[in-house]
């Protein structure tokens, strides 16, 4: 634990960035190496302020780029220290090569990714382009929908990442601005309680352990590479069990319950949207308001995006008749990721709901309660008619003529 304790109130008013910074501070990180980028800058800026004010015993490294920031984290992690950083958008894009290094080398790193659109055109606001860019990087990816959840997820990320059966880096996602810059009530743990929860850092194959010299970052060709990637994937898939254990321990400590797949009003719902990020909470309001219209809608969101909770998503959506998978990222020539993954999850099950793919909110375009109510009303019509009201993929909230792609084939029921 850091020598200097920060006295926190029972309820603090923090935005998502401050929630990250405080979780870093309480986790007693050895090295935070970072390069600033909107909207994640304040995560590290606050942390550097804590450091300057004597609250941090560890090191803060200002590097020359995001690529260098993650590289420094990997180096310090391989040496045997607890490490963390934060970034967004272009910074994540520059970091991407090293993300694969971190996961392949099985270095525990916590990366707070404050989701923001990718250029061009340049845009600082929130969408999930950067989150989706990390899809196949081999990192555990967890999503927070509010500042409280950002605090909780970032704190738990250390414990998940460093678990001896996991030893994989973890991304703690939150929406740029909508979460990162929106101050809300956050219930923090006291420093000693949080530090005890995260626990001491467990060194595995540390470079600085001279009793067991080890080489990190080796070359493998066709003779070993496949086996190493298989082992890495097995660890990522196996992390689900550990994540559930740590969610359970966290609930024991705080009373706050998290699941692999979050949902609202799923019992008896006829229709559902699947989304990520702050849209979840907006959808909760829309769902409550629509009850007066006799529409029984649900929202489902993977709390854990990687490893993808395929079975849990399938189980959650067995009884709805129409599903809109809402992807907040330009899909790049196909259907959106959530559409692909949710459809794939449902395919080997009895359920055959109508599936549509809504592309929305790019570059921070608002998704309002009214907008979500319209989406639910249309889903309700589709469920009652037994067929899609248009093409499979539709752009929602974009100016200009209707933009939609892919016809449903045959008589979809």
């Amino acid at each position: 634990m850091n020598k200097r304790v920060m006295e926190l109130k029972g309820v603090e008013v923090w935005d998502g960035n401050m929630a990250n910074s405080q979780a870093f501070r309480q986790a007693d990180v050895d090295v935070v190496a970072a390069y600033p980028i909107t909207p994640s800058t304040a995560t590290v800026e606050n942390y550097a302020m804590f450091h300057a004010n004597g609250y941090i015993d560890g090191e803060v490294m200002m590097t020359e780029s995001e690529h260098a920031a993650m590289s420094a984290c990997i180096g310090a992690g391989a040496a045997g220290g607890r490490v963390a950083t934060a970034t967004s958008s272009q910074g994540l894009a520059l970091m991407i090569e090293t993300l694969y290094q971190a996961s392949g080398m099985r270095i525990p790193v916590v990366l707070c990714l404050v989701n923001r659109a990718l250029a061009a055109p340049l845009n600082v606001n929130g969408d999930h382009s950067d989150l989706y860019l990390t899809r196949d990087s081999g990192w555990i990816s967890i999503d927070a929908f509010s500042p409280q959840e950002a605090y909780d997820m970032t704190l738990m990320s250390f414990k998940i990442s460093e678990h001896p059966e996991v030893r994989l880096p973890v991304i703690s996602n939150q929406d740029g601005f909508m979460t990162s810059h929106t101050a809300q009530n956050v219930l923090p743990l006291k420093d000693d309680v949080a530090c005890k929860f995260v626990g001491d850092y467990l060194q595995v194959n540390a470079l600085l352990n001279f009793d067991k010299p080890v080489t990190h970052g080796v070359q493998t060709e066709q003779d070993w590479h496949f086996e190493h990637k298989a082992k890495q994937h097995a660890a990522l898939m196996g992390s689900k069990k550990v994540i559930l254990e740590i969610f359970a321990q966290f609930k024991e400590l705080t009373g706050r319950e998290y699941k692999l797949v979050e949902s609202y009003n799923l019992e008896n719902a006829d229709i559902a949207i699947v989304c990520l990020g702050s849209t979840f909470e907006t959808a909760m309001l829309a769902i409550d308001q629509l009850k007066a219209e006799g529409i029984n809608a649900a929202v489902v969101a993977p709390r854990v995006f990687r490893p993808f909770p395929l079975e849990e998503v399938a189980e959650a959506l067995q009884n709805v008749k129409a599903i809109a998978c809402m992807d907040r990222s330009a899909p790049g020539g196909t259907v959106g990721t959530l559409y692909n993954e949710v459809s794939g999850a449902l395919f080997n099950t009895p359920a055959r709901p109508l599936m549509s793919n809504l592309i929305y909110g790019l570059g921070g375009r608002d998704m309002t309660v009214a907008g979500l109510k319209d989406i639910f009303r249309n889903l309700d019509k589709e469920a009652k008619a037994g067929k899609l009201s248009g093409k499979i993929q539709r752009f929602i909230g974009v100016r200009g003529p209707e933009l939609s792609f892919y016809d449903a084939q045959g008589d979809v029921k």
């Binding site: 001279f210 010299p213 190493h228 082992k231």
Partner: protein
């Protein structure tokens, strides 16, 4: 390692593809033991020859060497063999022919010079240049 790494299944490999330099734990001072007596593991680079990466090689002339250890310090591949601060030769299994040892050698004439890989050491030593006079390039 219980068996060669090339025969291991995915479940048997070390996480992160790390390679251990030595078999077992090191409960002795490595610096007290000569490399040839250390328990290098099968996956250590010690047992891997990379000499064929080289097209030119450094040849050492013991007649002019003053055992200053410059080459030993600067060699990026620990391919200068020295014992008790005396130069013993070049490890041709690991030297990649970068020539750094030659450039840092302070003697006149140099005690390490680069020769074609196919040149015999005997020939190289027979053709060693003479001491340069003051001001001679």
């Amino acid at each position: 390692m219980s068996k060669p790494i090339s025969e291991m299944g995915w479940d048997e490999l070390a996480p992160g593809a790390v390679l251990y330099t030595f078999d077992g734990d090191i409960n002795y001072n490595i610096a007290d033991i000569q490399p040839e007596d250390r328990m290098y593991s099968e996956t250590s680079s010690k047992g891997m020859s990379v000499g064929d990466w080289r097209v030119i090689k450094p040849v050492w002339n013991s007649e002019t060497c003053i055992d200053c250890q410059n080459c030993w310090i600067f060699c990026p591949d620990t391919s200068i063999i020295a014992r008790n601060k005396e130069m013993k030769g070049v490890d041709y299994e690991h030297c990649k022919g970068c020539g750094l040892c030659v450039s840092v050698c302070p003697t006149n004439p140099k005690s390490l010079l680069m020769f074609n890989e196919y040149e015999t050491v005997e020939n190289a030593l027979a053709n060693w240049p003479a001491k340069k006079k003051k001001g001679e390039e």
